[in-house]
């Protein structure tokens, strides 16, 4: 049976389910990816191109292990591959790998301080970008520019506050799993 997330007197009963912590964030990530892929120059510079799916891949297993998480992550990854025109399945596999690592190490990460969470997130993002770099190196036969990889890594890591807010907002609130 679902229990209300808010117990304030007079407040409307609001049930927090996967729609709130899985579906809506996934749609938001897709929309943000689409918006930032716009061809525009702000003061002569192109907008950054972070990978929003990495935030979801890091946050979802910490909020709650779920079958829906990997499935939605698969869809987000396919969407990212299509928008960024990378090899189909490349970002998908990367996101799932990050999800799997966080799921396996969940007992070590949950409940830690913000700094520890950030270190985990930054480390996983670095590993993901490194794997992509090596894959592209082997596939295309050309070493991608390191500067470009760093310029994509920085805004992706800078998204950590969004992931932390997501974790704090929904951690242990999907009461059906208690």
């Amino acid at each position: 049976m679902r229990r209300p997330a808010s117990r304030r007197h007079g407040a409307a009963v609001r049930v927090v389910g996967p729609l709130h912590w899985v579906i809506y964030p996934a749609l938001a990530a897709m929309a943000a990816t689409l918006v930032l892929s716009t061809h525009v120059r702000l003061f002569g510079l192109p907008p950054p191109e972070p990978i929003f799916g990495l935030i979801l891949a890091f946050s979802w297993p910490l909020i709650r292990p779920s079958i829906l998480g990997p499935v939605m992550l698969f869809l987000v990854g396919i969407f990212t591959d299509l928008v960024l025109d990378s090899t189909l399945g490349l970002w998908t596999l990367t996101l799932l790998a990050v999800y799997g690592v966080v799921l396996a190490a969940r007992a070590f990460i949950v409940g830690q301080q913000v700094g520890v969470l950030f270190a985990w997130y930054a480390g996983l993002t670095t590993a993901a970008m490194l794997c992509l770099y090596l894959f592209t190196l082997v596939e295309a036969g050309v070493a991608p520019t390191i500067v470009g990889a760093i310029l994509q890594w920085i805004p992706t890591v800078a998204l950590f506050p969004l992931g932390y807010i997501l974790i704090q907002r929904f951690d242990d609130t999907d009461v059906r799993f208690r």
Partner: protein, 416 residues
């Protein structure tokens, strides 16, 4: 029976294990996708239909999402223009003064070039049709650089068409749908573009690496490039037309030569797609790989008048009548230059046979032909004049103009 009363009432599914199982299943599917995708190949391979369908759906959606971003971009442009207007005005005035001299020189050189082309009878490339399109979205990461434009097969765009903007070459079309196309940019890691150095005519391959300045590889010759050299497409391989502006050469810190792209980092969101037909689209592979002497069997039949004249001179050797043979598929692949060659051989033999008694009309035609030939190729006339000085007594038979048509070979697709 209610679900809670059933045998699964107390079944507890371990969430971590089921999530891990889902990760493995989805990961396996992702691996299959990676193995079977070929994003750097033409449209026929990989998941091109998926990409094409996705582009078709997201192009209008992305346009709506992008509207606020564009507004912000225009606002920043306005601010930048306001504060930089004076400097820009001074720079443009100086540039206009410099370009005036360049323009005069250009007009003179174009005039000379046109005369040289007429003199040498060079087969120049025809003007290429273009289609304008708007940029819908782009990916700028280190692992892929591509753009989505809002024009496709409905606008006659095909895979391989070059894409340019007002500054220079942007890339080429790698995927196309009815209303949207995917453009692989020069900076993509999968991009390889044959280029040349304008100053030395040295060839090289422009290799993208995800950065703003792609690398010049396989550069031939020593000292064939220096800082500031203009780089343009060489047209080698037939995929791109020759002479499209690419960028300026510059030496990188690691010692490699790189190209600052003319089309790089521009805020213009309109591009033009050249509807350029490469050589592989013009010819059928069978005709390219045909035996060298295949054209000997496909010469056009001589005209009826010619046959009559030949038979009048040599009644013992009848000539096949022209109307009998229908064109075969092999005949249809014959180029016009080969046909001209065969025609001229037959005409030369005929002229030799008919040398004794040309009538007055034939004389006039021959005179016209000589004049036409003299106008077209004066160097040939000079050579013939020298030869006639060496052998003043022997007069060569005149060739009739109507059997040696002097027509340029059209640069169009061979009829299928």
């Amino acid at each position: 029976m209610a679900y809670r009363d059933g045998p699964f009432e107390n079944l507890k599914v371990p969430l971590g294990l089921t999530a891990a199982f889902a990760v493995l299943v989805m990961g396996a599917i992702a691996v299959l996708l990676i193995v079977s995708d070929k994003r750097d190949k033409p449209q026929a391979d990989g998941f091109a239909p998926v990409r094409s369908g996705f582009s078709r759906v997201t192009a209008p959606v992305s346009g709506v999402f992008a509207a606020p971003v564009r507004w912000v971009g225009h606002a920043t442009d306005f601010v930048g223009d306001y504060f930089g207007a004076i400097d820009e005005n001074r720079r443009l005035k100086k540039q206009v003064a410099e370009l005036k001299a360049v323009q005069d020189n250009y007009v003179a050189l174009e005039n000379i070039n046109r005369r040289y082309e007429a003199l040498l009878n060079i087969r120049t490339q025809p003007p290429v049709d273009m289609v304008a399109a708007n940029l819908v979205s782009e990916s700028r990461g280190p692992f892929a650089n591509a753009q989505l434009i809002d024009a496709g097969t409905n606008s006659r765009i095909r895979v391989g068409n070059p894409v340019i903007n007002e500054h220079g070459l942007v890339g080429r079309v790698m995927g196309v749908g009815p209303t949207a196309s995917r453009v692989l940019m020069l900076t993509d890691v999968a991009s390889r573009t044959p280029v040349l150095v304008d100053r030395t005519d040295a060839r090289a391959i422009l290799v993208g690496d995800g950065g703003a300045n792609p690398r010049l590889d396989f550069l031939r010759g020593t000292d064939s490039v220096k800082d500031g050299d203009r780089i343009m497409t060489s047209g080698d391989g037939g995929m791109l037309p020759r002479g499209l502006a690419v960028g300026v050469a510059a030496k990188a810190l690691d010692g490699t030569w790189r190209v600052k792209l003319y089309a790089g980092n521009t805020d213009t969101d309109v591009v033009r797609v050249l509807l350029f037909d490469d050589f592989s689209q013009l010819l059928k592979p069978d005709s390219i790989n045909a035996p060298a002497l295949a054209g000997m069997n496909t010469a056009p039949q001589p005209s009826a008048d010619l046959v009559a004249k030949i038979e009048a001179v040599h009644p013992a050797h009848p000539v096949a009548r022209p109307a009998a043979a229908a064109p075969t598929p092999q005949t249809q692949t014959l180029t016009q230059s080969q046909a001209q060659s065969q025609t001229s051989k037959v005409a030369a033999a005929t002229a030799t046979a008919l040398a004794p008694a040309p009538d007055s009309a034939a004389k006039k035609k021959a005179t016209d032909a000589s004049d036409e030939k003299a106008n077209a190729k004066p160097e040939h006339k000079a050579a013939e004049h020298k030869a006639s000085e060496r052998k003043p007594t022997k007069k060569k038979p005149t060739v009739k103009a109507d059997v040696i048509p002097r027509r340029p070979v059209p640069y169009t697709a061979i009829p299928q």
